[in-house]
């Protein structure tokens, strides 16, 4: 009996409860999948990569991007500076090449920008102390991204954008979990034929079990 109850509870736990519990561990939420990785651009000395974008949510707190560090030769700093539309420096984040594996997706974290939603920002990647031969390389993309313009490489407009992902800090403890559940249910119901058939099957089996169990107890 204990085994039956345990496995039944396990099934319900896996489907309903575990996703909510795990959602509490998601501290930063991206607003898209990473764009495709195309060519790379070296960042060194006075060669900077500049990118304008519009934040889609409040609490912008991280920018993630893939960076090459061929032969792990770079051990120096790379700096991300974020400017608002008035060109005020609002945030900075520094990573060390010592912690950047070749082709790794890295995150530049900074204090959340609370009212970032629908505001335009410009980030600049720079590495003043790096020489060309040891430069880190940031991946660019040819994908057209909403709210993202073409990058500027050393003040010249490129035909590509930076392949980056903005992350936002949830406003409260339950926001992520509730969003996950609402998107999950919405996605499930979008396949109407399957959702209807599946729910009909599950509900009818549940009713059958309850009915026959109660019927047996009555008799």
């Amino acid at each position: 009996m204990k085994q039956i109850l345990f496995t039944v509870f396990l099934s319900i736990f896996l489907v309903i409860l575990l996703p909510m519990f795990l959602s509490f561990g998601i501290r930063f939420v991206p607003d898209r999948f990473q764009p495709s990785l195309g060519v790379t651009q070296k960042v060194y000395d006075d060669v900077e990569v500049s990118q304008r974008f519009i934040a889609s949510e409040d609490n912008l707190s991280t920018l993630g991007m893939s960076i090459k560090n061929p032969n792990l030769v770079n051990k120096k700093e790379i700096r991300l500076s974020i400017y608002d539309q008035d060109e005020n420096l609002v945030r900075e984040s520094v990573l060390s090449g010592m912690n950047i594996e070749d082709g790794k997706f890295v995150k530049f974290k900074f204090d959340p920008i609370y009212d970032s939603r629908n505001k335009e920002y410009r980030f600049v990647l720079s590495a003043l102390s790096t020489q060309k031969h040891e430069a880190l390389e940031v991946f660019l993309t040819s994908d057209n991204l909403p709210g993202v313009e073409k990058s500027y490489i050393d003040l010249e407009e490129s035909e590509y954008s930076t392949s980056f992902v903005p992350f936002y800090k949830p406003k409260n403890f339950f926001e992520v979990g509730l969003n996950i559940y609402s998107q999950w249910i919405g996605k499930f119901l979008k396949d109407t034929a399957f959702a209807f058939g599946y729910l009909a099957l599950v509900v009818s089996m549940t009713i059958f079990i309850i009915y026959t169990t109660l019927d047996r107890k009555r008799n």
């Binding site: 085994q3 039956i4 396990l10 896996l14 575990l18």
Partner: protein, 407 residues
């Protein structure tokens, strides 16, 4: 007395199916997409999948080799052809989409449910099959309920989309025929099971011990190898050898040993399996009473000495079910070992083993740090894995000893 004539057991069967249906659409392991992508070429008339994948690697979106044996390809490919009207026209596009966005397809729940459905049928059939090992009605009931409600197979099959349930089922069929002294049919089933995946051949030397005469043994050998060979030989090529023969199990089982010079090595898993075999050989009269314990011990030895996938643990579950029902004194140790064995792969540095399973809910779960990364902050996670694996090996040794002491 028939299982289905009992209202309580009938209701438990429906409940067991229900809890499986609840989980089936919502947990995703990438293997199910990979091998169904590969199996989809059967519809296009591809018979030799190994050569096809090798020749077309550059243009295909998924580059993995087909690591199973041919019957897995034909089974999965044939099933896809059969249920293609239910999968819909977009299914093939989904299979061919190698991007991270593929998981966002709203039809993924339909695909997962339908693709796992054969496993549900075989899983339920296994519950009935296991009752055939017992004469006592209470034992039949216990093994039926144990199999339907044991969390280990539930997780292995429906979370990890474990196609191994097919050769596991066929191996169990082979075993029941051997126990009932239908040795030639047993050998045929072993050959067929091995034509899905190689591991059933691990059991075969022990099943040969049922043969009382040399002519029987030779016939059993011929049937098993013959049926296996008849299926495999048409596919023999370098591509097949690389993809399916040089697999995880076959290389890992012979890679751990103690070198004693001149290029030779005492291969420890083979050493201990040989001990088990020769002990069985000299005590053949007891083989028929204890075959499930012998085969379970065989798998414990193998898993003690190799880095294993969680899916492989399914191989031992029917045997565990038989032992749990017939030798209840060992239950606690057996449960502890199985939990330990399932915990070890959770510590691997592989997202698909843990939070990646929940991607059908949201890809955000892949942002969670793995247990591997969490442990890495404090200690070397490989050492932790090794400690747990060593404890598992020690516990396995004790269980093997106790299994043959308990009457």
């Amino acid at each position: 007395m028939d299982i289905l004539s009992q209202p309580v057991l009938r209701n438990l069967l429906i409940l067991a199916i229900l809890i499986r249906l609840l989980v089936m659409p919502f947990y995703y392991h990438p293997d199910i997409k990979t091998y169904h992508f590969q199996a989809s070429f059967l519809q296009d008339g591809v018979i030799d999948i190994y050569s096809f994948l090798e020749a077309n690697k550059e243009r295909l979106p998924l580059k993995e080799e087909f690591v199973y044996f041919p019957l897995t390809y034909f089974f999965l490919g044939g099933y896809q052809i059969l249920i293609s009207p239910l999968l819909g026209g977009d299914f093939k596009d989904w299979l061919f989409d190698a991007s991270a966005q593929a998981i966002s397809d709203f039809k993924i729940y339909r695909y997962l449910f339908i693709l796992k459905f054969p496993y549900l049928l075989i899983d339920v059939a296994m519950a009935f099959l296991l009752t055939g090992f017992f004469i006592d009605w209470q034992q039949k009931k216990r093994v039926f309920i144990f199999w339907l409600f044991n969390p280990f197979t539930f997780i292995a099959i429906y979370l990890y989309s474990n196609v191994d349930i097919i050769p596991v089922f066929l191996s169990t069929v082979a075993l029941i025929f051997a126990v009932k002294n239908k040795l030639f049919i047993s050998s045929l089933f072993i050959g067929i099971a091995a034509a899905f995946k190689a591991f059933p051949f691990l059991f075969f030397p022990f099943l040969l011990l049922y043969g009382k005469r040399y002519s029987q043994v030779i016939t059993m050998l011929s049937l098993a190898i013959g049926s296996f060979g008849a299926i495999l030989i048409p596919f023999w090529s370098e591509s097949f050898r690389q993809a399916a023969l040089v697999s995880g199990l076959t290389t890992r089982i012979v890679s751990f040993g103690i070198g004693f010079g001149f290029g030779e090595m005492l291969i420890l898993p083979i050493f201990f399996i040989s001990i088990l075999f020769f002990l069985s050989l000299v005590d053949r009269e007891k083989v028929t009473e204890n075959m499930e314990k012998i085969l379970f011990s065989l798998l414990l030895i193998i898993f003690s000495f190799i880095h294993f996938h969680i899916q492989w643990l399914l191989w031992m579950m029917p045997l565990a079910a038989l032992i749990i029902v017939s030798s209840r004194q060992l239950n606690l140790l057996l449960y502890v070992l199985i939990v330990l064995a399932m915990a070890i792969p959770f510590l691997y540095n592989d997202k698909a083993m843990t939070f990646g399973l929940l991607e059908p809910y949201s890809h955000l779960y892949t942002l969670l740090p793995l247990p591997f990364a969490a442990i890495q902050r404090f200690y070397d996670p490989y050492v932790v894995q090794s400690v747990l694996h060593s404890i598992f090996a020690g516990g396995s040794l004790v269980l093997i000893y106790k299994m043959f002491r308990v009457r």
